[in-house]
């Protein structure tokens, strides 16, 4: 009896000293026992784990990771396979839903699907689970055509997610269809594990002339450490319209690496809004691949940080065909000792003539100790294009502040109002009014003010 206990203790020490990469590689075999290894997706998983094994975690010597270090996170002894029995009462988590409006809901608790909190559908459209899509033969044609087709096979963190593909959201909107209401994808973590690594994998296919609105949120419910390495693939076919909203307002012990890959075809319009207000470390890798003509890609972001929060936005828009547009507008407000990164890469291929690509990144530093690194990266091989980019880093305009204060508005509120005004145009394109209201309130909360109105 005593010996057995000793054995367990030694094993625990062994896992604690093992670094995260080794631990992930070691647990892949255990993971394989839980999934269907005969499914063609498993070949993709196996290839991906080999890629992760050879590349490892990205580090700061890599240009794309110069300002974001994952080293501290790799020292955490994350649980990789959470227990399956975590349940939550709706009342406990209602505030994290956009409950002002009716939505379809795909909810995960510690990475496990919660049918109780979810509202999925197969009524003309499929709004359900990646696990079902992988397990049921009827989804095979879609999986075969789309799974891992736009996600990078080079990026080690994407490969890591691919290797452990098991659960996430699966949304399929057939030709000419539009779901009656937006879809919420909510990832809750209970903190029942001391520290937890989550790797949701989403596949979203919006067929010709179909429409979809998605709101995605990751929410930790306790101060136990959570790291989420998420991959979302979105395919927008000809004439499709997709609006994707990422609400990132998590606790200071939650970190997120969000990898989103979008494949767009002719005449489609895809927008991604990223509201980055919370968490410890957030890295958004947002990649648009334009494959067709006359399409529009919209990338918008509001970042408001305090304390020692860190958010890194890495965007890529690859214009591969003529006559397309992209519009990027990221606003950042950095307080305390927070740090921000914006790296916006635009590639215009030689044949992609008449491309209009715009990129704007404006930042306000409201503390002496906050910092931001912003870098446009334009690689333009076509000669008949309109590309513009601009980035600014500044402080609040003192004349504007005096103007507001002379109207009786206290300094703190006046500053907040100016910050609102600064970030405002990013909210204009939010097409779900209730979400806009919610974001407004989150901004006010983040700025610590009550302004008595919604923008």
């Amino acid at each position: 009896m005593a010996e057995t206990q000793k054995g367990i203790a030694t094993e625990r020490i062994a896992t604690q000293t093992m670094d995260l990469k080794e631990k992930l590689l070691a647990s892949f075999m255990a993971f394989e026992n839980q999934v269907d290894m005969d499914h063609p997706v498993h070949d993709i998983r196996s290839e991906a784990i080999r890629n992760f094994e050879s590349r490892g975690f990205p580090h700061r010597k890599m240009e794309a990771w110069k300002y974001t270090s994952l080293a501290p996170l790799q020292k955490v002894d994350f649980s990789l396979f959470p227990k399956e029995d975590n349940t939550l009462d709706y009342r406990e988590v209602k505030q994290y839903f956009l409950h002002e409006v009716d939505t379809y809901k795909i909810v995960f608790i510690d990475g496990i699907y919660s049918s109780y909190l979810s509202e999925t559908t197969h009524d003309g459209v499929d709004i359900c689970l990646m696990s079902s899509a992988l397990n049921k033969p009827m989804y095979r044609p879609i999986i075969d055509v789309y799974f891992n087709k736009v996600a990078s096979r080079e990026e080690s963190l994407t490969s890591l997610n691919t290797a452990f593909t098991r659960e996430g959201a699966y949304i399929y909107i057939p030709k000419n269809k539009a779901p009656r209401k937006p879809v919420e994808i909510l990832h809750l973590s209970t903190g029942n594990e001391a520290s937890l690594l989550l790797q949701p994998r989403n596949l979203i296919v919006v067929e010709e002339n179909a429409e979809l609105q998605v709101i995605e949120r990751h929410q930790s419910l306790t101060s136990n450490e959570v790291l989420t390495n998420s991959v979302t693939e979105i395919f927008a076919a000809k004439d499709a319209i997709v609006d994707y909203y990422k609400v990132q307002t998590d606790r200071p012990t939650a970190s997120l690496i969000d990898n989103t890959y979008i494949d767009q075809k002719t005449n489609s319009q895809v927008s991604v809004h990223t509201f980055a207000f919370g968490g410890k470390l957030t890295r958004n890798n947002l990649n648009f691949y334009q494959d067709g003509n006359h399409m529009n890609s919209i990338l918008k972001g509001v970042t408001i940080l305090a304390d020692k929060q860190h958010v890194d936005h890495h965007t890529l828009v690859h214009h591969q065909q003529p006559d397309c547009e992209s519009h990027q507008d990221y606003k950042g407000i950095f307080g305390d000792q927070s740090t921000g990164v914006f790296n916006g890469k635009i590639i215009v291929d030689k044949i992609a003539q008449k491309t209009n690509a715009f990129q704007q990144n404006n930042n306000l530093l409201i503390s002496d100790k906050a910092s931001v690194n912003t870098k446009p990266q334009l690689e333009i091989f076509a000669d008949d294009v309109k590309c513009s980019h601009g980035c600014t880093i500044g402080q609040l305009d003192q004349d504007a502040l005096f103007y507001l204060r002379s109207r009786g508005i206290a300094k703190k509120e006046a500053e907040a109002l100016l910050m609102y005004a600064f970030a405002n145009n990013v909210l204009e394109s939010v097409r779900i009014p209730e979400l806009k209201g919610r974001i407004n309130r989150l901004i006010a909360e983040k700025l610590g003010v009550h302004l008595g109105f919604d923008l």
């Binding site: 005096f402 507001l404 002379s406 508005i409 509120e413 109002l417 008595g452």
Partner: protein, 250 residues
């Protein structure tokens, strides 16, 4: 109401106001005229509490109280209003929402509850009518894309909403066409009462055809070099500022 005694003020190493004396009583309208760079706008900003300026000597008393230590918002709460020469654009915040915030912030400072919504709407409607402001205008973002005239009219609208004891109009006539000038002046005249006062800062006399001042002061090189009644403004219009400058040198 307002007593300025030997006021010296400036920025960093530059002295701008060099001994201003001025007394404004309830019910009065004072015009302050002067050539460019004489310190007119600085005087307005210093009274309203712009922190960029430092008062090195003298004091400003408002209703008997030294306001030197007061923040701009405290001065506003006490009843000082500055109509800006260059109003600032605030995108995304409508004129209505801005006024709601300004009024309720002032009420909060005085320990009063928010103004009930219906009362606020009534006040907005009433004051908008006074300044001949269209409803649609009120839902536009504050000063964003406003013409020069719209900005100034909006400043006076804000003043009407805030109902200050002392209204300071800094070059309100610049950029106004004759119709807008008439509307603005009419608004000010309607706001006039026994209990409030106005200081009208202007380069030209024409605004004073519509807002008749009780006193006219001429600032030159940071000092009031001449005071008189409305006839002084006419004289300045006719002769320009050069004779004042010469007189000041003598």
């Amino acid at each position: 109401m307002l007593k300025i005694k030997n006021l010296h003020a400036g920025v960093e190493n530059k002295k701008i106001l060099k001994g201003i004396n001025l007394e404004v009583n309830p019910g009065e309208i004072h015009a302050i005229m002067g050539p460019n760079g004489s310190g007119k706008s600085t005087l307005a900003s210093v009274i309203a509490g712009k922190e960029e300026f430092t008062v090195s000597r003298g004091k400003i008393l408002f209703e008997g109280e030294d306001i030197d230590e007061m923040s701009p918002e405290e001065r506003a709460h006490n009843g000082i209003f500055l109509s800006f020469q260059y109003p600032v654009e605030i995108p995304g915040v409508s004129v209505t929402n801005f006024m709601k915030t300004a009024i309720n912030e002032s009420r909060k400072a005085k320990g009063q509850p928010d103004m009930p919504a219906n009362q606020m709407l009534k006040l907005i409607r009433e004051k908008a009518e006074l300044l001949e402001i269209d409803r649609k205008f009120l839902s536009r973002s504050l000063n964003e894309g406003f013409s020069g005239g719209e900005k100034k009219r909006n400043e006076i609208f804000q003043m009407a909403m805030m109902q200050p004891k002392l209204g300071i109009l800094d070059e309100t006539d610049s950029g106004l066409d004759i119709d807008a000038l008439r509307i603005v002046a009419n608004g000010v005249n309607r706001l006039r009462s026994e209990d409030n006062a106005f200081v009208v800062i202007t380069h030209y006399q024409r605004l004073l055809d519509h807002i008749i001042p009780d006193f006219v002061h001429v600032i030159h090189d940071g000092k009031i070099v001449k005071s008189g009644d409305k006839e002084l403004a006419l004289e300045l219009e006719e002769k320009g500022y050069d004779w004042i400058k010469q007189e000041a040198v003598l």
